[in-house]
């Protein structure tokens, strides 16, 4: 266990500057987007004094700003899900020799990398929630008093499509489903990487077939929509999801423990 925590701390430390960078980037882009919208509306307000502008409206109007603020971090995190493995082989100082020989088996190595990626993803989501408070302060600070309109925080959060459909859906069920699929994607990606590291070219082919098989199996129950009730489709999809997660972990642990070589 201590090996796992040590490796996790190591992975987090290795990514800390990039994580801080994308956090700052998100902060800057969103603050600028909000400031621009408030500025635009202030001009209108000078012309028409009745036109108030609530925080929710500001967040609603800055959809493209939020998209821009989120696309880059998502791309960085996805790329790092691959890099987290390959940097140990192809980095300036290949590190994989030492990691492979750590006492206590190689399972902690796999789980530390997986947990690190998930920790980065959820930290970015949490950061977005923290940022909303920062943006609200910015709104109060920049918006003339007469133009401000009281609105609750939840309404502001739900007024943005980026939050509603992707980042923070309104119900926890949708959140669990979105991020559950995201976790499965990471697991499949890790398995693919380990297949490639184990069998090289053949591994790439096997990884692609494996990924296609996973997607097909997950979608397959939905094609029986005319014969199965929706509750049954959901149950089958959940079972398939569970089996795919278990299979990805099992294959990956076998590969990382017995096949992958430095």
């Amino acid at each position: 266990m201590s090996q796992y925590f040590k490796l996790l701390a190591l992975e987090v430390r290795r990514f800390r500057y990039v994580l801080a960078g994308i956090m700052v980037y998100t902060l800057i882009v969103e603050c600028v987007a909000v400031a621009l919208d408030i500025n635009n509306h202030s001009r209108l307000f000078e012309w028409n004094n009745d036109s108030r502008h609530s925080f929710a409206e500001v967040i609603r109007n800055t959809q493209s700003g939020f998209q821009l603020a989120i696309v880059i971090p998502v791309a960085v995190l996805l790329a790092y899900a691959l890099l987290i493995w390959y940097r140990d082989w192809f980095g300036r100082h290949p590190f994989i020799y030492r990691q492979m020989t750590i006492p206590g088996g190689r399972a902690p190595l796999y789980f530390s990398k997986l947990t690190a990626i998930l920790l980065f993803v959820f930290s970015m989501v949490a950061w977005q929630l923290v940022l909303m408070s920062v943006l609200r302060i910015e709104y109060v600070w920049l918006t003339p008093d007469a133009m401000q309109e009281a609105v609750d925080f939840t309404e502001a959060m739900t007024s943005n499509e980026v939050f509603n459909t992707f980042l923070l859906p309104p119900s926890f069920k949708a959140f669990a489903l979105n991020y559950g699929l995201g976790i499965l994607l990471i697991l499949i990606l890790f398995t693919g990487v380990l297949m490639e590291r184990s069998y090289r070219i053949m591994g790439i082919v096997a990884g692609l077939i494996y990924a296609a098989l996973n997607v097909t199996l997950l979608i397959l129950p939905t094609t029986f929509g005319l014969y199965l009730y929706s509750s049954e489709i959901w149950a089958i999809c959940l079972i398939v999801f569970g089996l795919e997660v278990a299979a990805a972990l099992w294959i990956s642990l076998i590969l990382v423990s017995k096949k992958v070589s430095a």
Binding site: F5, K6, L8, A9, V12, R13, R16, R60, L119, F120, F122, S123, V125, A126, W127, L129, V130, D152, T154, E155, M157, T158, S159, N160, E161, F163, N164, T165, F166, L168, P169, P170, S171, F172, K173, A174, F175, L177, N178, L181, I219, T222, T223, F224, G225, L226, Y227, L228, Y229, S230, I233
Partner: protein, 436 residues
């Protein structure tokens, strides 16, 4: 001693260094857990309000079969919601939804919901056909084109015995250029009737040469007993201006011995053209003829003497059959599919006695609302209408014969919020459905 102190300081320094290694992991974990728990744990009703249909007046039991559907808007996205007396069903708009719905589209009908709850194994895989039921039988029918032949798949369930059977029936050819539609399914005594309409679309896509056939099938053996061609006056002439439509029986568990056939014909406008420009557009005038078809003996009876041949009555009304009784319900907006009305006109004729038995108007204000939604629904002799007062949906159920209010329900928030008005303003509940 100094040596010992230096050693201890070194050890403390190393320990602090080891602990500091984990600080970043702890901070990131704590931020993630705390903020996400706070977001999803604190007041979820503020994000997804829960509604309920509450009885305001009349018989509580009537409200049990009613549901109102619509959307709750979170941002610009409408989330489908169903409100019934037990509460609300909220449908998340998931990123994969569009994809999954495309793959597994299952036609949703409120009428099927009760049936799938009561007879899950019989209703499995049955979602796009037609059904009819009596106290004894539940019949489900699908029509298919099997290599140029019309095939009827009849699934029957004897409710009391719990026994189901499937029969495949041949109902003539299905030429390539012909359309065939299952217009009505009706259980009548020991038989079941399928009303099939065949027509050929002309070059403009209009239906021409409509032919109606009533297939009479024995319920116990599943054999076709009779094929009756229904000759509707006017259809013998091939014309794109001629159309027919049928009114299905939605009375519920009581079998209706009739079906209503509305035959309409468009003729050029008859007015003086002297003062009109040469290329003036003369709108066609559509005339309507109503016929009642009796399943028991295949008799077609004209209703024109009972029902005036006017656009207002025949063209713009919603018709409902309830046993021998036929109701025409028309909103004041003048268009059948108009969204709102301020009152409805109800007329009823008894097809067996060939006589009027009721006629009245009900205003939305009498039901405590500014407007009423359209179209209205009908079941078991009751007219169901959705009302909208200050964005707060209500449902009124009226006895079709007397016009008296027998039930009134209103949509309320499960947990009263300070900003109730704001919640209702983001809610559009405008579709009334009756669960079977």
């Amino acid at each position: 001693m100094d040596k010992f102190n230096t050693g201890q300081q070194k050890s403390i320094g190393l320990k602090q260094k080891r602990i500091s290694r984990y600080i970043l992991v702890c901070i990131l974990t704590a931020i993630s857990v705390v903020t996400l728990s706070a977001h999803y744990g604190y007041d979820p009703d503020a994000r997804i309000p829960r509604f309920r249909l509450e009885t305001a007046e009349g018989d509580d039991a009537i409200g049990q079969s009613i549901q109102i559907t619509g959307n709750y808007y979170i941002g610009a996205t409408g989330h489908f919601i169903k409100v019934f007396p037990e509460g609300t069903e909220f449908k998340d708009r998931l990123p994969l939804d569009t994809f999954m719905q495309g793959l597994s589209f299952r036609g949703y009908r409120a009428g099927f919901e009760g049936l799938t709850d009561d007879f899950p194994s019989f209703m499995r895989g049955k979602s796009y056909g037609e059904f009819d039921q009596t106290q004894e039988w539940l019949a489900y029918v699908e029509l298919s084109n099997a290599k140029g032949r019309t095939r009827i798949k009849l699934s029957l369930l004897n409710k009391a015995a719990g026994k189901s059977t499937v029969h495949y029936l041949e109902a003539g050819g299905w030429p390539k250029n012909e359309n065939i539609l299952l217009e009505d399914v009706q259980v009548e005594d020991k038989n079941i009737h399928f009303l099939l309409r065949r027509w050929k679309p002309d070059s403009a896509g209009y239906s021409t040469n409509s032919q109606l056939t009533d297939y009479v099938v024995d319920l116990s053996s599943g054999n076709i007993l009779n094929e009756r061609e229904i000759a509707i006056p006017g259809t013998e002439v091939s014309s794109q201006s001629h159309q027919i439509r049928l009114v299905k029986d939605w009375s519920g568990d009581t079998a209706s011995p009739y079906t209503l056939i509305i035959s309409s014909n468009a003729e050029p406008e008859k007015r003086s053209t002297e003062k009109l420009p040469q290329n003036a557009d003369l709108r066609p005038v559509r005339s309507y003829d109503l016929f009642a078809y009796r399943y028991a003996d295949g008799k077609l009876e004209a209703l024109n003497d009972l029902w005036p041949n006017t656009v207002e009555d025949a063209g713009n009304a919603n018709y409902f059959l309830n046993g021998d009784d036929l109701y025409a319900i028309r909103g004041d907006a003048g268009r059948k599919n108009s969204t709102f009305s301020t009152f409805i006109d109800v007329k009823g004729i008894n097809l067996a006695r060939h006589a009027h038995f009721t006629a009245y108007s009900i205003g939305a204000s009498e039901l405590g609302s500014q407007t009423m939604g359209s179209p209205v629904l009908f079941k078991n002799g009751l007219i169901h209408v959705i009302l909208n007062q200050d964005s707060r949906p209500m449902v009124a159920v009226i006895d079709a014969v007397t016009g008296k209010l027998v039930y009134k329900g209103k949509v309320v928030l499960e947990k009263s919020a300070n900003d109730e008005e704001k919640v209702f303003n983001k809610t559009r509940l405008d579709t009334l459905e009756i669960r079977s």
